[in-house]
């Protein structure tokens, strides 16, 4: 059976998360087709055609798909996806928004955020904020799945030469309108793709103090994240939240600064390769998962850290 992967993009570029999802598709095994739904998105389709292991790219180019509204794109997937054995999307906010709607239109279940393919119908996924891992088997004819990007290494973005086919199905539900998007502009790498992440918690005390983290991040080429406590306190915007209900990250190095380490935060970062915790409370649970802990006042540590890493 073939596998359909929903491409994530902004109409000009393919999002890296798609490469991780294609890796999960490759682990299932079978012909891989990528669906690019968007508007004036020819460059995305060309990019998708080059992904290693992809044999076909389906392009649905229509104003109805420009902003990936779930009502329209889910209907498209339920039409195009009927003949596939698996339909995959990245477990990003976009994939999570669209895919369950598509699954219900197809009258099949969805398996959310898989971290391992056991066989073509059996998968592993974290439950209870990552405090347990369930192995689940689907009896549906079509397996609709979202993939946790950090669980799969991206496939090569170059090297493939898939055929590109236009899809002329237009499913405009006409019940929702995209009004605006306020995206945070940053020169730093994206949280979920960064090799190094430095995050601040309630211990940062205010938003201005995050400046210390930004400085370190810029030296290391790191992304900056935050705990839910820091976001709820209004220090930084929500898109920086790492945790069960925020972003899931698994970088080479995760530096937690002034973060106590609530279960919900650990769920978002405990698969990082090396974890550093800087906290003045030696009882903080974050130290139980840290490879290197430093019990000290972060306001003393950060300037010194900044100086030493530049040497």
């Amino acid at each position: 059976m073939s596998i359909l992967v929903l491409a994530e993009h902004n109409n000009s570029e393919l999002n890296q998360a798609t490469l991780n999802t294609v890796a999960a598709a490759a682990a299932i095994g079978g012909d891989i087709a990528v669906l690019v739904a968007g508007h004036n998105c020819a460059s995305v389709a060309e990019g998708a055609a080059k992904i290693a292991g992809v044999s076909k790219v389906l392009v649905a180019d229509n104003a109805a798909y420009e902003n990936m509204l779930a009502e329209n794109v889910a209907a498209l997937i339920s039409e195009v996806g009927k003949d596939y054995g698996h339909i995959l999307a990245s477990a990003t906010t976009s994939g999570k928004n669209i895919l369950p709607r598509a699954a219900a239109l197809l009258d099949v279940a969805q398996i959310s955020e898989i971290i391992e393919v056991v066989s073509s119908d059996t998968f592993k996924r974290p439950v209870y904020a990552g405090n347990a891992v369930a192995t689940v088997q689907s009896s549906d004819p079509i397996k609709v799945i979202t993939v946790r990007g950090t669980a799969y290494d991206a496939v090569a973005a170059e090297g493939g030469s898939a055929v590109i086919e236009a899809v002329d199905v237009v499913t405009d539900a006409g019940i929702s309108v995209f009004e605006k998007e306020e995206l945070v502009k940053s020169d730093r790498p994206e949280l979920t793709a960064a090799k190094i992440v430095i995050s601040g918690g309630r211990g940062m005390q205010n938003g201005d103090n995050f400046e210390h983290l930004y400085k370190v991040a810029d030296i290391l080429g790191a992304a900056v994240g935050a705990s839910r406590a820091a976001v709820d306190a209004g220090f930084v915007p929500n898109d920086m939240q790492v945790g069960q209900t925020g972003k899931i990250v698994a970088p080479e190095l995760y530096i937690a600064v002034g973060i106590s380490g609530a279960i919900q935060h650990l769920a978002g970062m405990k698969d990082s390769k090396v974890i550093v915790a800087i906290n003045k409370d030696e009882e903080a649970p974050i130290f139980q998962v840290a490879d290197y802990g430093l019990v000290a006042d972060l306001f003393k540590v950060l300037p010194e850290f900044e100086e030493l890493i530049q040497k």
């Binding site: 009502e71 990003t92 976009s94 999570k96 928004n97 369950p100 709607r101 598509a102 219900a104 009258d107 279940a109 969805q110 959310s112 974290p126 209870y128 405090n131 347990a132 891992v133 369930a134 192995t135 689940v136 088997q137 689907s138 009896s139 549906d140 019940i175 929702s176 309108v177 009004e179 605006k180 998007e181 306020e182 995206l183 945070v184 190094i196 290391l220 915007p237 929500n238 898109d239 069960q244 972003k247 080479e252 190095l253 390769k273 090396v274 974890i275 550093v276 030696e282 130290f287 139980q288 998962v289 840290a290 290197y292 802990g293 430093l294 540590v301 010194e304 850290f305 030493l308 890493i309």
Partner: protein, 249 residues
Amino acid sequence: MKVLVPVKRVIDYNVKVRVKSDNSDVDLANVKMALNPFCEISIEEAVQLKEKGIATEVIAVSMGPKVCQEQIRTSLALGADRGILVETDEQLQPLAIAKLLKAVVDREQPELVIVGKQSIDADNNQTGQMLGALTGMSQGTFACNLDIADGKARVTREVDGGLQTVLLDLPAIVTADLRLNEPRYASLPNIMKAKKKPMDILTPEELGVDITPRITTLKVEPPGERQAGIIVDSVEALVDKLKNEAKVI
């Protein structure tokens, strides 16, 4: 405007979950149960709409065994007007829940459904979107702001890169994210009053819904545990370890 709020009974978010030794599931025996935090936020939003004179009635609906009445009573104490329990001892998965909710929507004809974006047990994040598919309603997921005006719902959504705003035709489904509001606590008088509020009990059979599970859980295991590492005594030592031992900077 009638507002329907689906609510779920889950393990209390402060409880540390343990996997059963036979790996069949997590151990929920004698564990504190509570209203799913995202459902609390949904109820709060609906009650605030009522306080603003936008909503006329707030209905809390839950599905599952008889004990789920507790979470409906909690919702009533928080300000919902009446409750509905679709009672079953069968295991319910999101698609089945969405189908049961669709049947309730058909009976009640709400103009707005506010549902938590995910439950903190199964972490599926599916029910609202699936209900959208089955009812044909518009959807505003991961909402951090909701405005109802001129027969439409304007929803600000938390998306990966920041915020997105969509304008939805009613009836609509909104799934609540953490920052939509700060839920209130139920006062004692309201808890007493909630005991007298009406609650209908239905069954999947009465609603004519097939709830057969599509997914079988083969096993549940604890995640790979991380070992605590070492405590270093200075920033210098930390940088040295990162450079020369872990080799990550």
